[in-house]
Amino acid sequence: MQALEWIARGVPHRETYAFLDNGAKKDVRRALLKAVAIPGYQVPYGSREMPLARGWGTGGIQITLSLLLPEDRVKVIDQGCDGSVNAVNIKKFYERVGGVAVTTDVSEATLVQTRHRIPEERMTDRQILVLQVPYPEALREVEPSEAATRRMHAEADYARMWLHLYEDIVRHGEIRISYRYPCTVNGRFIMDPSPIPRWDVPKLHMADTLFLFGAGRERRLYAVPPHTRVEPLEFDDHRFRVEDFSGKSCARCGATEVYLDEILQPDGSSLHFCSDTGHCDKRMS
C-alpha cells in the first residue's frame, strides 16, 4: 500500500496508459500469443517489478495491465472473496492506472483476475480470466531443477509425476495433492492449474472462456484457450475426485454444490460459508 501511494504521488513520466512501460507490455503480449498457441506450456518472459511484492500477484497484474481497456469492468478476487487484502489492493491499482470500473458481479465483468479460485458462475466467451500463479511448474513437486523439468516437458517424459501419484495411493490410499492438481492440456503438456482447489479444475476443461496464467516471480506465462482439453491426472481405478461437501451448505445463503469455507466455532463444531462471496451476495439479493 505504501508503494502504491508513493507511485501515485511522485512518478513523473507516467504517460503510458495502464502503468507498465510499452516495452514491458509488448514482452508480455508476445509471450501471451505464444502461450495461447501452445496450451499449457510455460513461456518465459522478462517480468518487471510491480509496486506490489513478488509473490503477491505481479504476474497476473502484468497480464492484466498489458490487455486492459478503459471500458473493461474488472472483478478481482482472492480465495473467492472480493474483499480480501490482495484483491482490494489490486482493484485500487487498476482503478487508478486504467480508469476502469470495478465490480463484484462476475456476470457484469469483462475481465476477472483471481488468486486461487475460479468463480462458481460459468464464465462466457466475452470474458477473460487471469489467474495469479505462485508456482508455475507442476513437476516441481518431483524435481527441484528448472533445467531438468524443462527437459521433461520437451520429451513429454512425465513418468516421475505418475510415479509420485501412484506412490501416494500405495502409501496413503489417496492422492495427497489437493490444490495445484496436475492436468494434461491438449493431450500434451502437464500443467499446474495454480493453487485452485480440485473443485475448480473441471471448470478449465472445454470452457467458453480464455484462461491466462501469470507467474511474475518465476517469470512464466501460460494459457488455456477456450474449448481445450484439460484432464486431471488419474488412474482407471483411482479417479480424480473433487472435495467432498456432502451434507454441508452455506450458513448464509443455503447454497450446496459450491466450494465452502470452513469456519471453526469455539465449541469445536464448524460452520460453512460460500467461498465465492459475489455468488453468495447474488443468491441473497
Partner: protein, 189 residues
Amino acid sequence: MPRESTVEEHRSFRLLLEAMSRPGTVQPLGRPEDGHRGALERLAASLLDAETTLAAWTPELEPQARALAAAHGCRLTAPGTAAFVLHTGPDLPASLGSLNAGTAEMPDGSATLVWLVEALDTEGGLHAWSGPGIRDVLHPRIEGISPESWTEIVMNTADYPLGVDLVFLDRLGQVMALPRSTRIEKGSP
C-alpha cells in the same frame, strides 16, 4: 507517448489475442479503408519493439519491413531467424520449415508468420479446423492461398508443439490466426 495511442495498442492486442485464442474467427483489426497497411501497422504497434526481430519473406514487403523496424526499433534479420516474418502472395517462397519452428525445450521461440491475403471469412473454406479455441469444427475461408501453400500449412501443424504460428491480414484490415495447435483436415462441411 500520448495515452490515446497506447489505448489503441491495447485494443489492437485484445483483437490479436482473441484471434489467436479462437482460430478461424475474424476480428476487425484495422479500418477497411486502410487495407493491409492499417492492420499491419496496428499489429506492429502493439507487438514490435527493440527486443524482437522482423523479416520480409517476399521482396515487395522489404520497404514495409524497413519502415516498421525504423518506427518500432526491431532488428531486421533473415527470415530463417526472425521472430516475425512478413509475407504476401498465394505461394510461399520456401517451405514453412525454413522458418524458426522453435526447439523441443523452447517451442515458444518459433516465428510468427504475418501473411497478407485477399479475404477472410469464418465459413466457406475447404478445410475443417478443430482443436484448442474452436468449438467442434470450423471451415474458415482464406482467399489468396494456393493449394501448395495449404499443404505446407497442414504439415506445419504435424510437429506440435513445434511449429510456426500464422496470422492472416486481409484487404479489409481483418485478422485471423492459425496457431500450430490447430488440427486441419481436408473436407468442406
